[in-house]
Every structure is written in C-alpha cells, then in structure tokens.
C-alpha cells in the first residue's frame, strides 16, 4: 500500500517530465536492442562457423598411427640398461594402419552409455586418372547411413542423392573442386588408382561441398565396402572409428579410457579443435563488450536526466519531506523512476532486439563456400535476452542510485528558506 504511493509519485514525476523520461528510456531501448541483436547475430555466425568444422568432426576418433616402436631393442638389452640411449632416425616397421580388433572396439563402444553413435571410416589415398595426368585425392569409405545421421552428410551433398552411394556399387561422390578439375559430371565413370596400384572404375553419383575449398579439392566419398574392395581388404578392415557422444564434453575422458584399454590412438575434439574454441570465445567477448558499453552509455543518460529532474523538483522533494516522507521514501521514489525506465526500455529493447534478429535472419547471405546457408544466421538463445534484461535493470539501478541518494539527502529547510 505504501509502496503504491511511492510508485504513484514516481509516475507523476515521470509524466511531468515525459520528454526526458522517454529520451532516457529510448537510450535503454537502443542499447538493449543492439545488445540482443548483436549477440544473436554474432553467435549465429559463431555457431555456423564452428558447425562447419565441429559438426563434421567426430567427438572422438580412434586410429592407428604409423610410428616407430618406442620400445627399441637396445633399451631391452641388459648391458645398456643403465645408459641413456639415443638412436637417430628410427623408421617404423611396416605396421598396419587398420584398427586391430575393430569388432571388439565397436561392441564396447556400442554398449557404452555415453556414446551416441559410431561411424567407421577408411581413408584411401588415390590418384584420379584424367587423361594423361593424375589428380591426387582422398576417398573416404563411409557407412553412409551412420555418417549422415551423425555428421549430416546429406547437407553437404549438393547434387545427386547421397543414398546412391550405398545403393549403387562402385559409386563415388566427388568433392566439388575435384569434380570441376576432372570435369566429371554425375553419371560419368572415372578411374582411380590406389597407392598400392589397384585400379578401379567408379561411377559419379553426386558432388560434395563442405565449404572449405582445400578440402573439396581432394576429398571424395565412397561406401565403406567400395573402399575395402579398392584396397583389397576384408570387411573388418577399418582405419578410423569416428564416435559421436551424447555430451561432447565427455570426449577427453572417453578418449583416455579407450586409449588405455585398446592400446589405440584416440583424439578428442577439444584437443584437435582448440583454436575454434578460442575464436568463438573472443568473438563472444567482443560482442558482450560492445553491448555492455552501450548499456553503460545509456546508464549515463539516465543518470543525467535523473539528476536534472531532481534539480528541478527540489521543491517537490522539500514538500514531501515536510509532510512526512522520509529520506528513504524519497530515495525509493527516484530508484523507482530509474528502474521503471529500465524495465520499460529494457522490455521494448528485448522485443526490438528479437525483431531485429528476425530481420537479420531474412537478409540473404549466399556464398559458394556455404551451400546450406541461404540467409544470415541468428541465434535466438534465451540466454542473451535474460542477460540483456538483467543488465538493463542493473545499469538503470546504478544510474539511479547516486541521484536518488542525493535526493534523499535534500534538506527541506534549505529549500524552504531559499524561497
């Protein structure tokens, strides 16, 4: 009830100075709009760019690296046990790049609750024979269905049907760059030679474009069976095991566990893509900084206007105090004014920010490199709206804090005497 009176007086004061109040609120509207739109846009872009890499990257990748045995004979010899042995230029023995015991690994992974899915892969180094010249390339043999489920394979197949890769034997989806170089169109049959010297005829059933030019120049896809055939290997031959987890933060732990159990190389996404994380963080930081700066500027606007209002309304403050309003009441009145400006300006700003987001989302953004993107991406994460809302209240509160304290300290006797 008493607070109602405080609010009533605060509103009366604002209406008496409607223009200034609106100017102050507009400042908040503008900064919150910018804050929300900017963060939404920035993070939309962030997610797009990260998605470009991270969505396509397995959370954990298992493989067998070709490397020299770290346990060299000289270290095992008794005579040299107490020496520090240095051997230069150790060469790896002809070890296999395929994963040992891949069935057991798959079984264990499948029964692990953290795992969302597994997609095996075989990387094959090839030369595409185009007339007299050879174009080097990599053909990834994939489990088409799983690859699509886990890594949105279809999004990057810009021509042809990706399922043809599974349904047509000896088929290939060529990287766009590679296809352009070879001038191969869909339906054509191309010839490839593996590094072991096997020659295969492959039918082009589609084009693939990731958006990363260098990748598209070399990367092509075939089904895993086709790849095994090309290498002349059995159905259990797999060089890479790509795992997607339910929570990708688990990746380093899982990688470590399996590395120990299966004596295998395992890379987690965090280690491989540390630089993307950094880029994202910096972009986010910059947008927050711009947003907060805008809010602080609008906070100074509110501070100024409240100060002016208090200067103009000295008489009112003196009367209120003379008829029994305490310093705290007067303080509350001006804090209420500030917070009201914050709430109204903030809410309108959030709505405008949302609309601005919708607007940005409509702006066409077509680029060769990003086949799946037609307009600018905007992230409508409620987080930014909550932060924006809270921030508008916090800044307006602080903008009102000092003027309100000044008002509460006004000595009515000074004012009444001054007349």
């Amino acid at each position: 009830m008493k607070f109602k009176l405080i609010i009533e007086i605060a509103f009366a004061l604002m209406i008496a100075r409607l223009k200034q109040t609106i100017v102050a609120a507009t400042g908040v509207v503008f900064s919150i709009t910018m804050f929300v739109a900017l963060l939404g846009f920035m993070n939309g872009l962030n997610q797009l760019l990260d998605g470009l890499i991270l969505n396509r990257t397995p959370h954990v990748r298992f493989y067998n690296e070709v490397k020299p045995n770290p346990n060299q004979p000289i270290d095992q010899a008794k005579d040299f046990k107490d020496f520090y042995n240095i051997i230069r230029s150790v060469k790896p023995a002809a070890s296999r790049t395929s994963i040992y015991n891949s069935e057991a690994l798959i079984k264990t992974l499948e029964s692990d609750k953290r795992v969302l899915g597994i997609s095996p892969k075989i990387s094959v180094q090839v030369f595409f024979n185009v007339g007299n010249t050879d174009v080097s390339g990599i053909i990834d043999g994939i489990d088409v269905v799983e690859e699509n489920r886990l890594f949105a394979f279809n999004d990057y197949v810009i021509a042809g049907n990706f399922m043809d890769l599974k349904n047509t034997s000896n088929s290939i989806i060529l990287g766009k760059g590679a296809a352009d170089r070879m001038m191969a169109s869909i339906g054509d049959v191309i010839q490839a030679t593996t590094s072991q010297g096997n020659r295969v005829q492959l039918k082009v059933v589609g084009y693939y474009q990731s958006g990363l030019g260098d990748l598209d120049n070399v990367q092509s896809y075939a089904s895993i069976n086709t790849a095994q055939k090309m290498l002349g290997e059995s159905a259990s031959y797999v060089t890479d095991m790509q795992v997607k987890l339910k929570d990708f933060n688990q990746a380093p732990v899982l990688a470590k566990e399996f590395r120990e159990i299966f004596d295998i190389d395992a890379d987690d996404i965090q280690t491989v893509n540390a630089q993307f994380e950094t880029g994202t963080q910096i972009r986010t930081l910059i947008s927050y900084m711009v947003g907060v700066t805008l809010l602080i500027v609008s906070g100074f606007g509110i501070y100024n206007i409240l100060n002016m209002m208090i200067y103009e309304k000295m008489d009112t403050i003196a009367i209120l105090k003379a008829i029994g309003f305490s310093g705290r009441d007067v303080n509350n009145i001006f804090i209420t004014i500030a917070i009201t400006i914050g709430i109204v300006g903030g809410s309108i700003g959030l709505i405008f920010g949302f609309l601005a987001g919708l607007g940005i989302e409509k702006i066409p953004f077509e680029t060769e490199a990003l086949p799946t993107v037609k307009t600018f991406p905007v992230d409508f994460n409620p987080k930014y709206y909550i932060i924006g809302g809270v921030f508008s209240l916090v800044t307006t509160y602080f903008a009102g804090f000092f003027p309100a304290r000044k008002a509460s300290g006004v000595d009515p006797v000074d004012i009444i005497r001054g007349k």
Binding site: L5, L13, T316, K321, A322, I323, G324, G327, D329, D411
Partner: protein, 229 residues
C-alpha cells in the same frame, strides 16, 4: 483537557556557523497547550522561522530539548521524525507549496496516503470534507498550478489538516497574500480554533492577525520576551 501540553521547547539554542558563528536562538523555552491558538511575532531576522523549523522537527541541529505530545523528540532518528511530521504536525508555508504534478484532491490526500491507515476511498472522502471547510470542493479535480495564490494557500491548509494533527504550524501563511485573501485565510484559522479547537502556532507580521489569537509570543534577537508568558 485544555491543560495538556502539545509542544514544549526547553532551553533551545541555535547557532549558524557561516559566515561566522552567530547565535540565532537563545534559550528559547515555552509551551503550547492543547486547543491554544498562538501567534509568534518579532522583527525580521529575529529567528522566528528558525524556531519553527526546529519545532517542526525538520531542523535537528540545535541545543536543548523538544517535546511533542510529552515525548522527547530531540535526537530521534530521521525516519521516526518523518513519521511524527506525517502524523502529528501540519505545516503551512508562506509560499503555497503544493505538488504541481497532482490534483488538488490528491495533494490534500497525500499525507493520508503516506500515513496509510485508511482505505483510499475513505481518504478521498476525508480530503473532500477538508476542502469543503475552505469552500474549495469545486476545485478538487484541478491541477495544483491552476489555482490562484489564495486558493493554493487554502488547499495547503486543508492538506495540513488531513491527518488531524496535534498542532498546525504556519510560517507567515498570509505573508504572500493580498488583504482580501489574507482575511479569508485568517478567518479560516479562527474558524479552526473556535469550531475545531485546533492547536495552532502561527508566525506572523500582521498585528491585526496576532491580536485575534489566544496568545502572542514576542521574540527579539533570538529570545522570547517574558512579558507575554
């Protein structure tokens, strides 16, 4: 009943320190009893306003003791003093201080809303009754700055009555009005004294006004002259 002391000052001294230390009130001691209509007179600069600000609890920087309703208010916390001003003291200024953001009726109601002991409807009714005493009921919905000086002063007296205060204090409430209007206001005070037995302490320069009151306190150089006590 009539003997009950409403306000009492005991040995009040007041100094101003700028530009040099000067004593403005010197051992001021007096009482006002319930139902008394007292006027304060004295030369300009003798300390009347200063005394009134102390009595109204707005000025707390003084020596001596002040009792209101037999309760010591000297040294009490600001919030407590605000409550006392709201509930027990009605103040009428020389310059008709009304809140221009509000209507006449709301201006009168605000002390009641602040006291927060009755519903809004009740308070509206009471405020209207107060306005009727001064024949201002027809102006209730006007904004405060749409009134003439005399009308404003009547409204501010109505406001000072809102919470049925123990005492009304006025600092030259007619000082800024022409003869006709100050007569109206003066008659209002008289009516309040006679019909409602309202306790009042009014500072004035108007000899005629003063002679119509129960008692005149004469001041000179910060002291109360003994003769009239």
């Amino acid at each position: 009943m009539k003997e009950k002391v409403v306000i009492e000052a005991k040995g009040v001294n007041k100094y101003f320190y700028s530009p040099v230390k000067t004593q403005v009130l010197n051992d001021v001691t007096f009482q006002v009893k319930r139902g008394e209509f007292v006027s304060v007179m004295g030369k300009s600069g003798c300390g009347k306003s200063t005394l009134l600000y102390i009595l109204s609890t707005m000025d707390t920087d003084y020596e001596g003791q002040l009792f209101l309703d037999n309760e010591l208010v000297t040294g009490k916390h600001q919030n407590f003093l605000s409550q006392i001003r709201n509930k027990k003291i009605g103040f009428v200024f020389q310059f008709h201080y009304l809140l221009n953001e509000f209507s006449v009726l709301e201006n009168v109601m605000i002390p009641g809303l602040k006291l927060n002991q009755r519903s809004r409807e009740e308070l509206e009714h009471i405020a209207m009754e107060k306005l009727k005493i001064f024949d201002m009921q027809d102006h209730a919905m006007k904004k405060a700055n749409q009134l003439s000086g005399g009308q404003k002063q009547r409204v501010s007296i109505a406001r000072s009555l809102m919470n049925d205060p123990l005492i009304i204090m006025g600092d030259e409430p007619t000082g800024n009005l022409d003869k006709k209007n100050s007569d109206i206001v003066f008659n209002i005070f008289k009516e309040l004294a006679q019909e409602f037995h309202q306790t009042m302490l009014i500072v004035t320069h108007d000899q005629e006004f003063a002679s119509g009151t129960d008692r005149i306190i004469n001041m000179e150089d910060g002291r109360i002259l003994k003769s009239e006590m």
